[in-house]
Chain length 379, copies 2
């Protein structure tokens, strides 16, 4: 079935387009006890800690499955049974953390703001002051539902000032937006092989403060998601407790080498910012309006409001772009009818300009003259 038509560029939040060399790293079967495979894992874990500037204070622990598995392992292991998590929600991924807490039966008051509104760090501070039982704050760095950048440094400062622990879902930001453990206090951050680090999907990881993880034995509600036990196993002999996704890990190792070659977080972030700039400017020229103002827009994925023109139908738009070799993403918002276009993965300015040309062509096919949305009502 593969190869029967063009392979499209994936302008999505993942699975995303990866380099040929990353995929070629999967053309070999590794024994999971192979010394060189164990060395690959060691190097991957060390590189992840270094990306967060956590050497000496933090450890990286991979978790089989999707990024959500890593988030669930982080919450279920690091929040004690009698803990209480203030969950900051402004989209689907914040809501998912609340759902994870409900499964794990952890008390979890929610501070929710609209999908286009970041949480207010002062309000976080007030809620922490008002409820001394809260032990942890859980926050999403870039909420992929909208593409909004949440003020993670200010949230971290408010949480630390109140003597509480911060758990971050940095799924769609890690590797492209800085997160420095030396200046931004957190107990753990969860992310995935398959976002800004441009590996293929198959595992996530948690970078945790070693002291917090060491204290978290016997907490997790599931063996597979027991981050403490996974860490102890890796430390004991360098092996995963249960069969690791060997090919995916080899691909990720290659992806980290390519990330470093691009200039690390700064270089990767610069390419994505340029992708995002080209996209937003090009879409503006076609009349499209992003949901978010520039100050709140992370260079990861951009939400555009649905055009007012009645000839615009999203399914036809999606299919037209797909036929031209570009895959975009439907919206996931309640505040606005919308769609999303990603800026991440092995894409650069030529692909972003190609996508814009495909969008122009598809609009012409549909007879849509402008992407301008319905005029918004005054607040």
């Amino acid at each position: 079935m593969p190869g029967d038509e063009i392979e499209p560029w994936l302008l999505t939040p993942g699975p995303l387009t990866t380099s040929v060399t990353v995929k070629q790293a999967m053309l070999r079967d590794w024994g999971s006890r192979d010394r060189r495979f164990i060395a690959i894992n060691r190097e991957v874990r060390d590189r992840l800690v270094d990306l967060a500037h956590g050497r000496g204070s933090h450890v990286a622990v991979p978790v089989q499955g999707s990024g959500t598995f890593a988030v669930e392992a982080m919450i279920g292991t690091l929040v004690p049974r009698d803990g209480k998590v203030l969950v900051l929600v402004n989209g689907a991924y914040g809501k998912r953390i609340a759902r994870i807490c409900a499964y794990a039966r952890r008390a979890h008051p929610v501070y929710e703001t609209s999908e286009d509104t970041p949480p207010d760090p002062a309000e976080v501070a007030r809620r922490l002051a008002a409820d001394p039982a809260i032990t942890h704050v859980a926050a999403v760095h870039c909420e992929t539902s909208s593409g909004i950048l949440n003020p993670i440094a200010e949230i971290a400062a408010a949480t630390a000032a109140a003597g509480r622990r911060l758990l971050i879902d940095a799924m769609s930001a890690f590797g492209a937006l800085p997160l420095d453990a030396r200046s931004l206090p957190f107990d753990a951050v969860a992310a995935s092989a398959n976002k800004c680090l441009e590996g293929v999907p198959g595992f996530g990881f948690v970078i945790a403060r070693e002291q917090a993880l060491a204290a978290a034995a016997g907490t997790a509600p599931a063996l597979s998601l027991d981050l403490h036990d996974q860490w102890r196993g890796l430390e004991a002999n360098g092996q995963w407790r249960f069969t690791p996704p060997t090919h995916v890990i080899a691909a990720f190792h290659q992806a980290l080498i390519e990330h470093e070659a691009e200039g690390g977080v700064a270089g990767r972030g610069a390419r994505y910012r340029e992708n995002c700039r080209i996209l937003v400017e090009g879409m503006a020229a076609l009349g499209f309006e992003p949901l978010l103002p520039p100050a709140l827009q992370a260079p990861i994925i951009v939400t555009f409001r649905m055009p007012a023109d009645p000839r615009f139908r999203f399914e036809a738009f999606y299919d037209g772009l797909s036929r031209k070799g570009y895959v975009i993403y439907p919206g996931k918002l309640t505040v606005a009818d919308s769609f999303r276009i990603g800026c991440i993965g092995r894409l650069g300015p030529p692909e972003m300009r190609g996508a814009l040309a495909a969008i122009r062509g598809t609009l012409a096919e549909m007879g849509v003259e402008s992407g301008a949305p319905r005029r918004r009502e005054a607040a």
Copy 2:
């Protein structure tokens, strides 16, 4: 790092050697909402149900992660909070099921036999009769710790006769040993992409009786491992709830095509039995003695007793074989000092004979004249 020396044959219980064409299926990035990717998933799920002859009664639900994740999703979702599981243990994987039950806080009496002794179906029947609170029996089809074949048909009959539900860990057997839902009643069987179906590691799956799964809403102790919710999501729109391991799934799709081309379960099982026969006979000629008598030996992995010759050191033996391009597996038993050699993966008679030649050569290098174990004491 790959390519700097020969890629060895993996005579292990997995990750194992896969075909080049299975690995090449990973050289493409799939969007997880791509219609053809959704069709691949549909076909994979249908083929899995057909392998168990469960069409019309059972459904297949993949679970991200290793096979253990699938076992844990099966136990945590299908055993209600007030359920009670009789766990049959004769090795590490049965013990792991008991550990999963402890995490999920499910009552779980254990019926344990020695690692070289299968559970007695009559004893299962007695224990079920003696404790009406037991709702489920959990059994391992082939216990990979020793390679023993457990009497799954007789266990299924005893469980059904007592009106209880059977959950099977068929990790290392599914696809090579028959498991027919029409004649062997079970509520669910868990297995992995990376065993006898010869895919690469990255997900497991559960084939569950649809009525049992439909009744299991709200039971699972973790969102990621909620098999009911995963099934509902797949049925709703063909998509996984959380990012699927797209490349691994494409490889598995190819692996299933190759499995069918080999003659399905019968053809795959025949090759493994021939591998196993060549191995056991060749090892016997060198003096090595398998742990298990032929009637209990599954054609999956063979446990050999450690030779008595003091010049035999397992680490040197392992390294010598590895240098010659064959990876074997350490033992995992308490009853006997041992090592294991697998018969599964993309290996045939030439590779098994090659492994035997490498073993002969390595023994000669070590100055070991015979693989004969210490004389066993009379029982």
